[in-house]
Amino acid sequence: MNEFWVLVTGSLVGITCGLTGVFLILRKMAMIADAISHTVLFGIVMAFIITQSLNGIWMMLGAGIAGVITAYLVQVLQSNGLQEDASIGVVFTTLFAVGVLLITLFAGNVHLDVEHVLMGEIAFVPWNTWTFMNLTMPKAVWMLLFVLLINILFLLGFYKEIKLSTFDPIFAMSIGLPLVFLHYAFMTLVSFTTVAAFDSVGAVLVVAMLIVPASTAYLLSKSIKRMIILSMLIGMLSAIGGYYFAKFLDASIAGMMATTAGGIFLLVFLFRPYEGLLMKKRKLVNMNNLTIKS
């Protein structure tokens, strides 16, 4: 039964992150997600210091606010002339350092150690349950389902808007789409996704689940819908595969999930149709044959 819940949690992480990741890749904001996954620590610590509780809702709120603050600060630095990569770097390392410092100062004794936040411990997920409407499930599963639901609702409501503002923001502005609202709403979603996922896989490895499956799907897709479906499938596959590999090696489950996602990416990168390295070589050989013939 415990194994079952670990697999459910992992799959939900894969699906939720896979969904959010698609637009992160298309909007070229993968590293903003990386930044948010680090600054979420700051938000959680602040939430703990203010409320003195480890309640999921407060953590979610703190993380959401920290995520939006991160996105906003990066935007401010950038619009004042600092290049994008440096803006991201300055903001997230600073907030992360403040977060680490606050933990050591104010929250050293509670179950909020930095290592846990960074690496997660999915194996403990089944022990921490919550009952709602006579249904008892691990807290992490509840959180992930909740965030997945918000993600799906957001996409159902704003699919064509977020698509157009991603593809052609200038045109989107000319027909009156609320670009700023869409940007920050999406950033809030990324923060929610991060905080829901990091309890199980850890903040740094959330980045792997956000970026890697979506990138793999991007290489295989000519339409967004296909990319979304593939990304969620690959995310789920990475989680389940990662769990069994980790069990076999008796190693970190979260780390193995990220590594599996990386392995799938590598395979697709090398063997993808039309553009893969092998295909390119074969094409070259064909071309050589042609020249010899003619």
Binding site: G157, K160, K163, F167, D168, I170, F171, M173, S174, G176
Partner: protein, 257 residues
């Protein structure tokens, strides 16, 4: 009523004024070329009229109203390089984006919108490429798709930012013919353009710009040596088509008819 009425428009980036004190009236039903040297603020002018710039002062009226995307009066073709052409989508889908303003929030495109988009795509000669990934289209084909998207907006006034950059001759001809059709239907079209050779053939109304309006009016009247010299600061180099040699004539603009 004029199609566009701009008064006292100024735009600043950081510490320099990119456009200053623009006053411009364009009548309905003209095909307008916006001409000027690099850095004259041509694209900025369009963006300012479309209310896309924060540091803007002055007033803009479109067909007697202040700009509101909900009126669907304006169609827009941005510069082609402003877009990521690796985006996973196909030509028809891009054209369908032109309907989004009409479809509105929370609604999905209907069959009617799809038909309209397909019709627009066919009208630019791209019907057979509807399902092609946009990344696999040539520069000229991409530009036609952008034009089709603007047509799908069913607007009254169209703004095009450098539509002829990096496209083949056939596409340029297709585009200009479509623009002339639009004009014949009573629409107004503004085009940012930089090929002086074709101004006389393409546009019946010209706006000469260099940070401020140098001159604007019927092309025949205002496309003169004196005005061009003023806009380009007398540093114009001209290609003599017959001999194919560069005549660096300071102020001697014989190539212009």
């Amino acid at each position: 009523m004029n199609a566009i009425e701009v008064s006292q428009l100024s735009v600043a980036y950081e510490d320099n004024l990119v456009l200053h004190d623009i006053n411009l009236s364009v009548p309905v039903g003209k095909l307008v070329g916006i001409i000027g040297p690099n850095g004259a603020g041509k694209s900025t002018l369009i963006k300012a009229i479309l209310n896309q710039l924060p540091n803007k002062t002055g007033d803009v009226e479109i067909l007697g109203h202040s700009l509101d995307p909900k009126n669907h009066l304006v169609g827009y073709v941005p510069q082609r390089n402003a877009v990521d052409w690796d985006f996973p989508t196909n030509a028809l889908d891009v054209v369908l984006m032109g309907r989004y303003g009409h479809i509105g929030l929370f609604n999905r495109p209907k069959a009617k919108d799809r038909e309209k988009a397909m019709k627009c795509l066919k009208s630019v000669g791209m019907g057979e490429f509807a399902n092609r990934s946009i990344g696999q289209l040539s520069g000229g084909q991409q530009q036609r798709v952008f034009l089709a998207r603007a047509l799908a907006q069913e607007a009254e006034i169209y703004f095009m930012d450098e539509p002829f950059v990096g496209v083949d001759a056939a596409t340029e001809l297709t585009i200009i013919n479509i623009l002339k059709e639009l004009k014949a239907k009573g629409k107004t079209v503004l085009v940012v353009h930089h090929d002086l050779q074709t101004v006389n053939d393409y546009f019946d109304w010209t706006v000469l710009l260099n940070k401020t309006i140098i001159s604007s009016g019927p092309t025949r009247k205002i496309f003169t040596k004196e005005n061009l010299q003023q806009a380009y600061g007398g540093k114009l180099f001209f290609m003599n088509e017959k001999h194919n040699e560069v005549l660096a004539e300071r102020g001697g603009l014989n190539a212009i008819r």
